[in-house]
Symmetry: D3
Subunit: 243 residues, 6 copies
């Protein structure tokens, strides 16, 4: 879009969708950019379905606990808070008021919520007329009820909680030419909480958390993608219209 197109859009609509992912290890076969790929694809789907502007993807999120694996990147939570505060400050000055973050990574949830609180207070200290009407919300595609049920149905206990077959499947749907194969040990650690990076790698040596991503297929990915787009579209519209 061009800036005059955004100016027109703002006359009738002040909502925006912002995809946020992560760049981090996803086990022996998952793409490092899995969370960003999923969030971006689903956000574009939601944007089309709801006629909403989709902002640029935040590709690197809060993944400090994955940084003992090569290729993982992360912002510190305090950096991510400043990033979000900057994003929303200038967008709000332009007239946006409702921000729906479509999120692909569990580690982003707490920093995002912290950032929203910090941002509301910051905005109300500026001279922006609509600052008190600003609202932000995280929509985690992998926590959609319909997605969760489908993943359970497809993978049962082998869904796990990181490098899951469901997120891998969505990346296979988006990039069918980048499907990776590797011998995955049938024994995979699970159930240990997340603390620091070295500790995480010590407990989850190949990066998976209780998952079997070998079960993923592009067809599953499409099903999950469609469920996520549908449910998040409804969730977004409800968010936009509530008062």
């Amino acid at each position: 879009m061009t800036w005059p197109e955004v100016e027109d859009y703002l006359k009738t609509n002040t909502g925006m969708i912002i995809p946020i992912g992560s760049t981090e290890q996803h086990g022996p076969t998952g793409l490092i950019g899995t969370d960003a790929i999923c969030a971006e694809a689903i956000a574009k789907g939601v944007g089309e379905q709801t006629q909403t502007i989709v902002g640029p993807t935040i590709n690197v999120g809060m993944a400090l606990h994955h940084t003992a694996f090569p290729g993982s990147m992360s912002l510190r939570p305090s950096t991510l808070i400043q990033v979000i505060l900057d994003y929303l400050t200038y967008l709000t000055q332009a007239g946006f008021t409702h921000y729906f973050f479509i999120n692909g990574h569990g580690g982003n949830i707490s920093p995002l919520k912290a950032a929203f609180s910090e941002t509301y207070t910051h905005l109300s200290s500026l001279n922006i007329p609509q600052s008190d009407r600003v609202r932000a919300k995280v929509g985690n595609w992998f926590m959609c009820r319909s997605v969760y049920q489908k993943a359970k149905e497809l993978y049962g206990d082998q869904e796990g909680s990181h490098a899951t077959p469901s997120e891998v499947a969505v990346t296979q749907f988006v990039y069918p030419d980048s499907i990776k194969k590797a011998d995955l040990s049938p024994d995979v650690a699970s159930g240990y909480p997340i603390y620091g990076a070295a500790d995480f790698r010590a407990h989850y040596p190949d990066g998976r958390m209780g998952s079997n991503p070998a079960l993923a297929t592009p067809e599953h990915g499409q099903q999950l993608y469609e469920l996520a787009v549908k449910e998040l579209s409804e969730s977004y519209l409800k968010f936009l219209q509530a008062d």
Copy 2:
């Protein structure tokens, strides 16, 4: 305790309990310090039961959304992150490794989790031998399964989600001389999400979120206190011993 007593303690135990509350409005009858009072009392109970040092209470947490009501105080999330990072840095230098935050306020959860991530990374950049073994966990007394069930049993739908009868009851148990009465409207707002401070007050004009704190009694408070102490003691010991 004196510092030589702490030195002795550290020879056999490197765990610490830290209460964290908030100083914020709790409806027309709830004490502003409700969350700190509950967290501190329950933390002391858990400390006694598990023979664990209880650190000083963090009385002011992240309650920006309550700051449109007089008497409410708050740290910004980015400030709270620095506070936690400072706390854990110097305690870890002294030899502590396991930090169990007994929390009385929902708004603290995200900033605390963000702070833990930031702290693990910070500690691993310092020259502290045990830094990679540091672990921190939030124990929310009001989200204990046993507490939740008891609250449902006692108050049903009138428990609500802020200025709840259950938290008011615990403060009545701790400070039986400070029980406040007021005419509470039977109609109380509920179900609206939390965004900024002005928006919160507009939607929850007397500060309550779906709750009827008039149902609280000191006897309920004692029951809830005991359930929380028991469940969090078990949770803490599991946290300390897991590996």
Copy 3:
């Protein structure tokens, strides 16, 4: 207090007392929380005598130089500045204008003064009507003239400057069941300035600075407490009324 009670209070009074202590070693027999205990007890006394709201105690202050002794905690000065700035921002938005910090720890004085300067400037950049009338002051109970004279009279040169019998006496008055005994070397270092933590411990190996806390008694504590409450109450009222 409840928030409507604070709202009422603000109609006639915009002053607040905030106790600030520290959590740090106080020699072989002093409680780690000595400074917070003293500040909180005296602040409550001043609050009662002057009919003033007493805010939640800041339990951890600036004690970096004590952090080579186990159990000591500290904020960095830059963190403490942000904490004070946050406290005063939201309280000032609610209508408070005069903040009297009752302080139990010498190390807090410089960061507090720095924080006040930073806060005045921050507040005047916000849209708060009364921000230019905001004033903050540190009242150090241990530097009250009457307290100082009494301590000299009771302990002479053995008062020292850290882990003093006078502060220990106040904690004995507040917590008569937590009186600690230990063999205290008659030789105690004194006169060396405070630099970093390792340097401090090297020069003050048991944590005392020229003091003999074995002279403390709960009766002394009560006398010192009463002198401090009286003098700080006068000091606070003068602060509140001056213009």
Copy 4:
């Protein structure tokens, strides 16, 4: 890529290419994401040609001076410094040492250079063996000699310095379905320096700086793209091999 693939890569190669763009107005017909689109496309080309990992695109850069136009987003320079510091810290811990930022936006140059200085110093304070060998460099595709010459040849003085036909042409090559048309005034401001956002919009009312983007074609875009890829590939390899 998966993390084991990155681990393998690092055995023989410690270089990485990171595209950085901006999300800002590009005149009446330029896409808001122009700088990110160009940087990402060219970075992928350079990555393929030099067999180098291409990191995730930084979509939002330092464009504060464009924020008076709707749709523009920006990080403050101090935020961008922290973002770069975070990126390079965790990548360096994993073994990377040479970072080549392919940049699509002039406003990023100063903050990036500032960030590199800040990062070198930060890294040398950590315990990372290779931290003293870390090097970062900005490669601005639009300042490549060959690109510059081609743009002069194609557009002469109508190239201008923002919303240029050359950058618009590259986006047309990348997204041929998103070519925008609008009546562009033949009079376009130029020559005024960049200060704050309101001042910028006052002097450059349609967002262009001396440019005529109507001259752009996808074919030009391809030519410019190929020149940039070629020249930056050589520049990158020289950077990687120098010592």
Copy 5:
């Protein structure tokens, strides 16, 4: 000096003198740079007398309370802390260990002390061998006993506490060609504490605090200068040699 000269110096001496002043109003006749001029001149004198390197003058300090008068400049305390931390970090890496700040402005004292604490802790987290031996001290020339007595003797009560005849006299000694005259009201405010900038100007309308700078002469300035140099030289040598 050149860097090889500094390298030689460090073989036998690791002390440095750093002048710190302020750029702020000094009443109707005092130079805005009074505090920097005095600190720099006296620091050079001390440097010569004690054969010590004198670092570059910090010309702008913490003078937020003077910023309602045109020409005043200031750092926020949190900025000044970072400045000092940066100064001492790189000097300590080079081998310096003892920093003696010769200070010309009361408002710098608290931020400097806060900065020293922050710096000690920061340095001990770095891998610098001598970091635990680093010590910093503020020497306030205007608080030297001999200076204070001379000022009392020369000016009695008309010394005041800001824009004092003694500091003005030192600037007249240093810059005899820049002596300013103005009609000074015999009535000058005094005794009101320092809070924010607007409040300060309201209470001290011409900028003086109880002083009569018309009494200053260059001859007085020389006397005061010599006393300050002598006393601070002794103080510095004691600081350097103590252990």
Copy 6:
């Protein structure tokens, strides 16, 4: 100047010149303060010629890459940004709007430009009437066309890019009593880019970058000084008057 003189000045002129240098190694014979000396002297010359206030010199700039040589000092870029933001905030509140930084050090350019962007945005968030008219510019004396040509004429290739004969000559002109001599190796490194401090020293072992400062004379210094003053005076006036 006194504050009433500044108040008068502001009635007709809102421009200010601020010298910024650096404190860093300048090869075996260059003074550590070379960049500050040059900037300050030239700024004073420009101030006289253009009847403009010259603010206090920023003596320590961004020279992290020189910090492996003893005597070098530096601010981190993020600190320098805060310093500039503070300077310009309080000066703008007083009525200044145009800031011309006369700069003696290449390493300051990027952080200064970053700081200007950060400051414009900060100022527009405050309630200062003239904040949107604030403009800042860096004038690098060593990059003046006339200076550059003269240096080429005097020194040809031996001008180099650090510890240049031209900057040394200006210091000799300003401080003719501090001319240093040393055996300078005829072989001097050049052409290697600047990364971190250790890397810099490894590639430039005596601190010079391709220069032969032995060619400098005070007479050259005077010539270069006069050229710089003339050209920067014109540049400043153009900056002040443009709109």
